[in-house]
Amino acid sequence: MFFFTYLARELRRRLRQAIFIALGLAVGVGLVITVTAASAGVKNAQAGVLKGLYGVGTDITVTGAAPSAGQAKPSTGSGGRVSLGMGPNGAQMCVNGKCRSLKNGYTIDTLTSSSYAPMNEKAAAEIAALHDVAAAAGGLLLTDNKTTISQNPSPPTSFSVDGTDISQQKLGPLSDAVTKTGRTFKAADANRNVAVVDANYAASNGLKTGGTITIGGTKFTIIGTVAQPEGSNPPNVYIPLARAQSLAEQGPAGGSLKNDVNTVYVTAASAADIPAVQSEIAKLLPKATITTPSSLASEVTGSVSSAAKLANDLGKWLSVLVLIAAFAVAVLLTMLAVSRRVREFGTLKALGWRGRRIIAQVMGESFVLGLLGAGIGVGLGFAGVAIINAIAPSLSATLSQPTGEHIVTPNGALNPTSSHTVSVPLVASVSGAVILAAVVLAVAGGLLAGTFGSWRIGRLRPADALTKVG
């Protein structure tokens, strides 16, 4: 009782100083909360972007290395290895070694994997067997290229095709998809010519469930349409992996892709295991490209990237500096207050108060100031977050992705990329853990100040203290 009375009276006596210390701590804490919330908002935006752009619902994506320009022979056209020349029946076009006479209305339709080198499908099983891997599924990311011979030439068309492992649809591009019409794959579809079409692609190309689509020269029945999350860049068409392996050819080389995959989707046992799994896969498949959320994030450009850098660099250091300044001010003011009360403490020692009791009194005052700073700081933090959410513009994220096309020119082969930009809102949010950390920080600041002040009291001899002029 006496402890609290003395504490409250003392704080009231130096009210202005107490408010100054508490406000200093509050500004530091408020800034930490605001920056942390903004940083978390940016991270969430980044995660949303990455999920939207890839939409694979996996932790790690393993792809075969992209073929280099030197691997391809010069030719013309797009997709596959295409060459024009004269055959026994006149002009002919050869795609991946298959030559056809150039008759009017003839369509050359190839399904190729020109972006990624193939891997044996056993790679997925080997990865799945690794420690800390929860699941792994292989897939084939392909491009269907169509070129029609006509007196009125039209540009070649292409669309992306995903060979989906039907037994593991929770991994890969279909994992985030929502069925709009019809259905997705069943186990019995493994070797059937059935396809699921992206709803947007279906709408823009007049495709419907129950209709057909020609892929690699083979007609597939459309069994359903699916919608992917907004802002994502999904494949246009999904077909069973076995059918994709059967129809597809490796782009420039023109080889078969039977028993091959070019992508393995991996889920780690936990987020903390991702680096270890990445390392294990790198040992298992040294030539493969391994993509993790963090490596993917580094490829994202645009304002979301700038905001992340701003929050991580400037914001973090600004809050650290303000916190240090607040702590320093609190320490200095507390030491000043203690130095003005030396005679008072000397008197208490003369009355028989133990040093520990006096230190507890000073620490109690500092603790209360820390709590006060924490309370105001949390309020300031929430205000800062509200301001950010009110005025922050939407962030844009741009990620370059291979188009899947492989263009061979006289100067070499090209694997063009497309830039995909999405807009995401920045929503800063404060978590309970951040509030707790902020309160601990402010109280720690107060106690730090009290400790410095108390250190002097502990060393004070009563006779010396009583001779001080306070």
């Binding site: 006496f2 009276r9 108060w353």
Partner: protein, 223 residues
């Protein structure tokens, strides 16, 4: 009660060693009122600090009821100050944020008395110095004489054996001085205290049973 043999106190300063007390021999009996006078800087307050366990002698032996204060651990000295020794200072030394009653109560905190016992003792102590009606007043709301009365109540509330007063009337006018000295004399008799009072005021010193004079760190007594 007090038995000092060859007690000395030296301070080390930037200019070398300063001898504040040199070989003081002194005996003060139970219930005695000893006044110590002398010029400023001749060791009066230093001697009082040693007698009150606020400082330690650098030489000699200082016994209180047979216990050597110079050899006691800090915790023992603190306990001794809390239970057996009361102090009254020239500048009153009241805690400015606490009321008169709370200032008196502060002396009971180290004794860990219960709240009810503390309140009862505080009321009695304030009554003994005639300040019952000022219990809730802050020091800044009291006159100098009233503040010194609160300080006396604070010194006596724990019922000590010894009361040490360092220039208790130094900051008071003559009328208040006489009032305070009269009060101290009354309480000295009432509580059967051993009172050691330092003052350079002849009117105060004359009331004591025995008067010692401090000069250059040594004490002497007249015939």
């Amino acid at each position: 009660m007090y038995e000092l043999t060859g007690v000395g106190k030296a301070y080390t300063t930037g200019f070398g060693k300063v001898l504040a007390l040199s070989a003081v021999d002194l005996t003060v009996g139970d219930g005695e009122w000893l006044a110590i006078r002398g010029r400023t800087g001749h060791g009066k307050s230093t001697l009082l600090n040693l007698l009150g366990g606020l400082d330690r002698p650098t030489s000699g032996r200082l016994l209180l009821d047979g216990r050597d204060l110079g050899r006691m651990r800090d915790a023992e000295l603190t306990r001794l100050r809390a239970t057996a020794i009361g102090f009254v200072f020239q500048t009153f030394n009241l805690v400015p944020t606490l009321s008169a009653a709370e200032n008196v109560e502060a002396a009971l905190i180290p004794l860990r008395a219960g709240l009810a016992a503390r309140r009862r003792k505080v009321a009695a102590a304030l009554d003994s110095v005639g300040l019952t009606d000022r219990a809730r007043h802050l020091p800044s709301e009291l006159s100098g004489g009233q503040q010194q009365r609160v300080a006396i109540a604070r010194a006596l509330v724990k019922e000590p054996k010894v009361l040490l007063a360092d220039e208790p009337t130094g900051n008071l006018d003559e009328e208040t001085r006489d009032e305070i000295i009269g009060l101290m004399e009354k309480l000295w008799r009432e509580y059967q205290l051993t009172l050691i009072l330092v003052s350079h005021d002849g009117a105060v010193v004359r009331r004591a049973q025995r008067v010692g004079v401090m000069s250059r760190g040594s004490i002497s007594f007249g015939p």
